[in-house]
Amino acid sequence: MLPIVTLNQDSDTPARREIAPCVMLTYLYDRSRDSKKSGAPGQDFIAFSYDHSRVAFAVCDGVSQSFYGDLAARFLGEKLVAWLMAHTAPVGGDFADQLDRVLRAWTGEASQLVQARQPAADLPPMIREALERKRENGSESMFVAGLLDLSGEQLVVCWMGDMRLWLWDSHTRPVDLPGAVWLTKERWSTRIGPKNGVPRTAILNLDDVARLTIHTDGVGNRAQELRSITRERLDQLARELGAAPASDDVSILDIVVDSVDVPPLDAPEPYVPDMDEPVIRWQAVDGAQWYRVEMIAAVDGRQWTADTTSTSFILPPGQPEPTDCRVQALSSDHRPSVWSDSIRVGRELVMPVLETGAPAMPTAAEAEPIVNAYRPFRTDVILVGALLLALALTVGWMLIYVR
């Protein structure tokens, strides 16, 4: 399965350019000022995946008035990219129906995540009450997603909500997007699927499109500045938007239908420095500006990535064990390296089957210190000593009185 690249929601990603085999991607993820100040995750989400001739992408904007909008944004983004990437042949006229079906089908799994999400235990009662009210309606997100297929010469896009998708020709002139209506009330809900409308779709010939830009509504009335971008200008835009009173999360994904012939970076060689800690490390790669860690949970196969500028990575708390990890080196002026060999982090549980049919007790594959019930050595000495003394006194008494 091709990796799905998922940008961190817990931190900010400055403007980066990634050179894929068939396109160049530029992206930025910047949380609102309030989220940065309190260390909270953003509610936008960016994900993409690519091979030698296709790119699937999704940009999502979680609805803050819903239950943990970041949950729906992430879930939906990952699902859309995986589903779109599974289309190996050009899509046909039934794409809209297919999309509507999967958007409804995913509500079961998503609703389980909503039910499982527990607010922090130390929240004041009124906040807990407000969150429980929100939980009843589920988590919601708007989205723009699509599949760019160079071999099929097709661009397929779909959306719900008030985010924006801009198409440009080779002269940076806007290309009309058929059916382009952007309504805040339209969104995807973990509870019911498409809400307040039907998912909108468009299938275009790739001849007309040289570039596409997707952004969330945090960009506001500065969207015209995305017509011509550099990484420096995107970072400056994010700084200015972050200083505005109504600072919102800002996510931008720009895809140029072209690539450059540059060499790839060398692959990192990660290792686990301490088997008792969920950390991987690697030596710095010449020319690398950041690294991407792919994690696959061995239990259920769920895959996602996280980017870091460091040469070590701590697996997030709650990460299921064990997890298989690979690392890739990236920079804005080289092709990404190939993925490293996979290494396993975390302990594997072995479940022996007992012939008696009694419930199996999990045992660790590597010896965990097992604390058996035992009395401390000192206590044993005292008791033995006491017994010997009692014995000696008994014998002595017998000798004295029996004689």
């Binding site: 609102s32 000022r33 309030d34 989220s35 309190s38 909270a40 995750p41 509610q43 803050s64 008035q65 943990y68 909008g69 970041d70 607010p119 922090a120 929240l123 004041p124 009662p125 009124m126 906040i127 009450e129 407000a130 969150l131 009210r133 929100k134 009173p245 109504a246 600072s247 919102d248």
Partner: protein, 249 residues
């Protein structure tokens, strides 16, 4: 367009509650005392404000609240203005009904507070006063004070004044369903002189507030006044929902 500024953590909306806690508020309305229904409604709207201010678990201070409980005297319940995240920690106060109904003093306290705050609220949404009472004022007539208040404002609009009249004798015909009620579009529907006075002391509902109320399922008509005959707890809840209907980011 007026009344379209959104409440954010850096431009929060100021909402001033003026709550009548005179002795008559200990009377029953349905199966609860009027004052208990008011506390319940305040709890309800505070929770709703928290929900509208919450992104994940993070409560952004999009609302600033002041509560004046009045009888013969005016009591600053919160000791000044509190942001919604501060209010959450302290909780909703409980009231003990007593004394008369000095409505003018309550509005005067609100006017003084607004005079002190408005110079610093240039980019903020227009403030709102939510006045709740169950009987005619005693002492000075509050009408001139309210008229002055309705001339105060910020670039987003003049201060909004909402009145909630708790009584089952206000309307000629009772309201069947609060969700389908279009609002007090006809003064002739009122059966009470003081209700007519309060109606004239009420601002028209801005369109942006109407949109927010529609999200809750209410179908108030454009141009309806911010005056609510609260003959049961459903209508009280509706009226308090209106007080928190400033658009938020």
């Amino acid at each position: 367009m007026p009344y379209t500024a959104v409440a954010t953590s850096t431009t929060p909306v100021l909402i001033i509650y003026l709550l009548d806690i005179s002795g008559s508020m200990s009377q029953m309305l349905g199966d609860k005392r009027r004052v208990e229904i008011v506390s319940d409604a305040l709890q309800e709207i505070a929770t709703e404000m928290v929900a509208r201010s919450t992104k994940g678990e993070l409560v952004s201070p999009r609302y600033r609240l002041a509560i004046y409980a009045y009888e013969s005297q005016v009591h600053d319940v919160l000791g000044g203005i509190r942001t919604i995240d501060q209010f959450v920690r302290d909780g909703v106060p409980e009231f003990s009904p007593r004394g008369g109904t000095n409505t003018a003093a309550a509005f005067l306290a609100a006017e003084n507070l607004l005079a002190a705050e408005l110079p610093y609220m240039e980019a903020h949404p227009a403030p709102l006063i939510c006045h709740m009472t169950d009987g005619e004022y005693q002492g000075d007539d509050p009408t001139p004070i309210v008229q002055r208040i309705m001339q105060m404002g910020v670039p987003d609009g003049n201060v909004l004044v909402e009145n909630i009249f708790i009584s089952d004798k206000i309307l000629k015909n009772p309201i069947g369903d609060s969700f389908s009620w279009p609002g007090l579009v006809n003064e002739a529907d009122l059966a009470n002189d003081y209700a007519r006075t309060l109606l004239r002391m009420s601002s028209p509902i801005p369109d942006s507030y109407l949109s927010e109320m529609q999200e809750f399922g209410y179908q108030l008509q454009s141009g309806a006044p911010m005056m609510f005959p609260a003959q049961n707890k459903d209508l009280i809840r509706m009226a308090f929902t209106m007080s928190g209907a400033t658009p938020v980011a």
